[in-house]
Each structure stands twice: as C-alpha cells, then as structure tokens.
C-alpha cells in the first residue's frame, strides 16, 4: 500500500471522484442545453408578459461559455472542498501523527495528495468538456476543436493552481472548513490583484475565461503565454510554501 494507492482509494471510496465527475458532467450537458434554448425561454416568458425580447441566435461558443461559467463557479467550489478534505493534513491529529512519524518529509506526504486531487479535477473537467462539446455540436453546431483543446489545456493549469492554493491553505490552518475557506480566499485574491493595471490579464484568473475567448475567436492561444507562465510560477511558489510550512508546523 503506497501513498499513491492511498490517494486513489481516498478519491474512490469517499465518492469524491464521483462527486467531481458528476458536477462537471452535469454542467457539461446542461451548459449547451441552456445556451441553445435560452432565447426560446426568454422570448416565451417575455411574450407571456406582453413584451418582445430579441435574443440573438446561439452560436457554438455559447455552449462552451455556459459550461465554463458554471464549472468556474460551482465546479471549482466542489473542487476546493474535495481538495481541502485531502490537503488539510493536520485536521485529525491522530492521523497526522500516523503519517508524520513514518514519513518525516512534508513534500513526500503532500505530493501524492496534490497530484491525485489535480488528476481527479482534470478527469472531471475533461469529461465535462467532452460532454459540452458533444452537446453543443448536437444542439447548436460544431466548435473549432483546436480552440476547445487549447481552452481545455489552459484550464488544467488553473485547476492545478486551485489545488495548490488549497494545499497552502491546508498548511496554514488545520480544519477542513478553514482550509477550504482560505483556499478560496487565495483564489479570489487573483481577480482582485488583476484590478492593478500592470497585472491585468497576467494572473491565473486570466485563464478562467480562456475556453470561451478561444472558442469565440477573440483571442489566440499565444495570448495566454504570460498568464500560463505566471500560473506555473505561482503553483510552484504555493507548493513550496506549503511544504516549508508543513515541515515546520508542529502537531
């Protein structure tokens, strides 16, 4: 029984992997559906009240945009909670002592948890994206697959950033709830920092809208080189800080 297998069992037996997949799949199917029929729904609702609402016909990018919008809120929230449950490593002192006395290195203890949680998030995000692309093709029309793959890949970096933020939170505070809250705080800090003109469009938060922008053709993959580089650097910094704090923190 390795720490890697332990993390797989944690995801599988606690239904956390299932929860992530279900949430992202649900939005993957629901997003394009809402995009396709939103105009009809609004027009019929307005007509019942005696108004006339003109909504442009949906385009394929609307399907992805709707999916990313939902996944970027509730999907990320679920991910943060799932990550906090794995990465608040000192939430249970008895368990923490079991691992710390056998694996003194915080890096060795954290790595499987971070990688497994990120992998689960990527799997869920991938399945949701496939569902969204299929449903969009079915209901609205075909998407530029190259743009979709680019947006998918950029979001993976953002998901890894979210997990790394929770890893640091778990090294700062002890309870699962506090780790989830602080992790969300780290993530919300990015759009706030993005208000500084010099940082606008250069932070991890710039990747959230990438799948939609690429699908609409309003940006190119190369436009995200700086935010991707910054995100990778932030992930490394967050994980390094988490390991350092994990090594220093006493039980």
């Amino acid at each position: 029984m390795t720490l890697w297998r332990l993390e797989w069992l944690r995801l599988w037996r606690t239904y956390r992997l299932l929860a992530l997949v279900v949430v992202f799949l649900l939005f993957g199917f629901a997003g394009p559906l809402i995009a396709a029929y939103l105009a009809d729904l609004l027009e019929s609702a307005a007509a019942a009240d005696g108004f006339q609402v003109v909504v442009p016909d949906p385009v394929p990018a609307d399907g992805i945009a709707q999916y990313v919008s939902n996944a970027g809120q509730i999907g990320l929230l679920v991910l943060v909670v799932v990550a906090a449950m794995a990465l608040a490593t000192d939430a249970h002192p008895g368990q923490a002592a079991f691992y710390r006395t056998r694996v003194p290195s915080a890096a060795r203890r954290l790595l499987p948890r971070v990688v497994a949680t990120t992998a689960a998030a990527v799997a869920a995000w991938t399945l949701g994206t496939v569902a969204a692309v299929y449903e969009t093709w079915l209901l609205i029309g075909p998407l530029d697959l190259g743009a979709v793959v680019g947006g998918w890949a950029l979001w993976i970096a953002y998901l890894a950033f979210a997990v790394a933020a929770v890893a640091l939170a778990g090294a700062v505070v002890r309870s699962v709830a506090a780790a989830a809250g602080l992790g969300l705080g780290f993530m919300l800090l990015m759009p706030l920092l993005g208000l500084v003109p010099a940082l606008d469009g250069r932070l991890p938060s710039a990747l959230v809208a990438a799948p939609e922008e690429l699908a609409r053709g309003t940006s190119q993959l190369g436009d995200y080189a700086i935010p991707v580089a910054v995100t990778v650097a932030v992930i490394v910094a967050l994980l390094a800080a988490a390991v350092r704090l994990g090594d220093r923190r006493e039980l």
Binding site: T2, G94, Y99, R102, V103
Partner: protein
C-alpha cells in the same frame, strides 16, 4: 547498558497563563536498550510533551534528543490513534509497514493483526472500530514496522479493564523483543509492565531508574504480623526500635511501618523472639508505585 534514547537538557515551555512555566523544563531522559520504560506523572506533568519531542512531532526550545536507532525503526503510538476510516484494518497495517520500508506482504500483515487479536477483522473498514480495537490496530501498525523502539503515549488510559489488560499484555510481549517507552498516569499499569521508570512532575524528572530501586528507596517498608494472644508487649517493644516509624495493633494483628527495609527484616524477628510473642505469620506488604510516586511528588516545587 547502552541507551537507545537519550535526551539532554530538553526544554519546551508553554505559557499556562498563570505565570508559572509549564511543559518540559530540562529533562535528561535515558532509556536503556531492551527495557520497558514507564514514564509516569499526573495529567499535565509533561509526559505527552516529552514524548512528542522524542517523536519529533514537536521541536524543543533547548536541549537535544539522541537516538541510537534509525528513526524509521521508531514506532509511535499516540493516545488517540486515528486512521482513514475508509481503509480496512489490513490496509492500515500494510500502509504502516510500507511507509517504513518493512515487509507489507499479506502474510506479514495478517501476522501483525493476529498478534493483537484482530486477525478476523483484516477486511473490515476501521471507521466502525471501537476505541479498544483502534488502540490494538495502532499496535499492529507499529509492530508491522518491526521497530527497535516503541513509544506509546497513554496506551491504556481510555480503555475498559479488559481492553487495558489486553494492551498491557501486548506491551509486555513486545518488551521482550524491543525497547518500549510508555507514558501513563495509571501507576498500576506502569508497575505491571515497566522495568525502569521515570517520574515526571511539573516538567522535571524527579526520578529515573529501576522500578525496584524506586520502591526500595521511596516507599516505607511495611509488615503485618499475626500473633496468638496479646500483641501489646510486642507492639510496645517495637515502638522503642530506631527503625520503626509507626506501630498499630488490633485483635491479634500488628501493623509495622519502618524506615529501613534491612533493619526491619532483621529487627522484627529479633524483637518477636525477645518478647516471646507467638508469631503465626509475618507478611511484608507489597510496595506500590503509587506510594513511591506520592513520596516523590508530594508538596510544592
């Protein structure tokens, strides 16, 4: 005898809020190889802090911890063991063994579970285990690593009498294979299993050495004599002896508390013979750790 574990000038202070320093205040612990070392002291004496410093779960403010064994061969059992509730007992033991590089084969895991009496629960998830079962599982996880030093913090404090007896039997059994350090505020438990004791009180070590020596040095020897006929003459003669501290009589029974074991053992027979007392039996009262502990820790400071 070489020491497996030695601390020198170990200090870890906590602010108790009363202005009085608490924690571990300069402890020189020395645990010889192959013994069961009982660390005794009341709640708040510093036992858990000391063991967590030894286990590297906390860092000292000053002083050092020296181990003469590889850290991977040190197993720690906390007072409240916790495991991932969705793992089976066998998986917990296999994980524990794997993490320290020990044999985690199914046979080795089954052997460790058998040893603690959990052989038939290997496939059960540990989330439903009782406190006693969790404690035994913690021991199985520790044993699976084949440790040279087993550190146990209050291993029996929250268990029912049967659970305590079972855990202490396991400690005794393991004490024949490795060095064991266990802390407890239940003195009778320590007296049952320990060869060497350390008495900690208010963060300092008041005594460290063989249990028998502690009892001999700090417990007043006591005897009970059953006599036929009047015991008054015998009692009166005993009260004049310099090694006698107290004599109580009642219905053919004389209780004697002395100040010196050897003088008492020789003197009792001599005085009984001199007074022609008809002694039916002479029974030394067993010294207990509690009496020694109270003698060591009574009073301020």
């Amino acid at each position: 005898m070489t020491a497996v574990l030695r601390t020198s000038g170990l200090v870890r202070r906590y602010d108790s809020g009363t202005g009085e320093p608490t924690g571990v205040l300069g402890v020189d612990l020395e645990v010889p190889r192959g013994v069961v070392y009982g660390l005794v002291g009341p709640n708040g004496a510093g036992k858990t802090t000391l063991l967590s410093l030894v286990s590297a779960l906390r860092r000292p403010d000053a002083g050092t911890v020296e181990l003469s064994v590889d850290r991977r061969r040190v197993a720690v059992v906390t007072d409240v063991p916790e495991f991932e509730p969705w793992l089976t007992a066998a998986e917990v033991v296999a994980l524990a063994a794997h993490l320290v590089g020990a044999d985690d084969s199914p046979a080795a895991v089954a052997g460790a579970l058998d040893e603690v009496g959990l052989g038939d629960t290997g496939s059960r998830r540990v989330g439903g285990f009782s406190r006693g079962m969790s404690q035994r599982l913690a021991l199985a996880a520790a044993f699976a690593g084949d440790p040279e030093l087993l550190v146990m913090d209050e291993p029996s404090s929250a268990l029912d009498p049967a659970g305590r007896a079972a855990v202490l039997d396991l400690v005794l059994a393991w004490g024949r294979r490795a060095t064991v350090v266990l802390s407890s505020h239940v003195l009778s438990d320590v007296q049952r299993v320990a060869d060497v004791v350390g008495v900690i009180h208010r963060g300092t070590l008041r005594y460290q050495g063989p249990l028998a020596e502690l009892l001999a040095r700090h417990v007043r020897p006591q005897w009970t004599l059953h006599v036929r006929g009047s015991a008054e003459a015998l009692a009166a003669a005993l009260r004049t002896e310099p090694w006698v501290e107290q004599v109580e009589t009642g219905d053919g029974v004389v209780h004697v508390r002395g100040t010196d074991l050897e003088a008492g053992e020789a003197g009792l027979v001599r005085v009984a013979a001199a007074t022609r007392a008809r002694v039916v039996s002479l029974v030394p009262e067993e010294a207990d750790l509690e009496s020694a502990f109270l003698a060591l820790t009574w009073g301020p400071g």
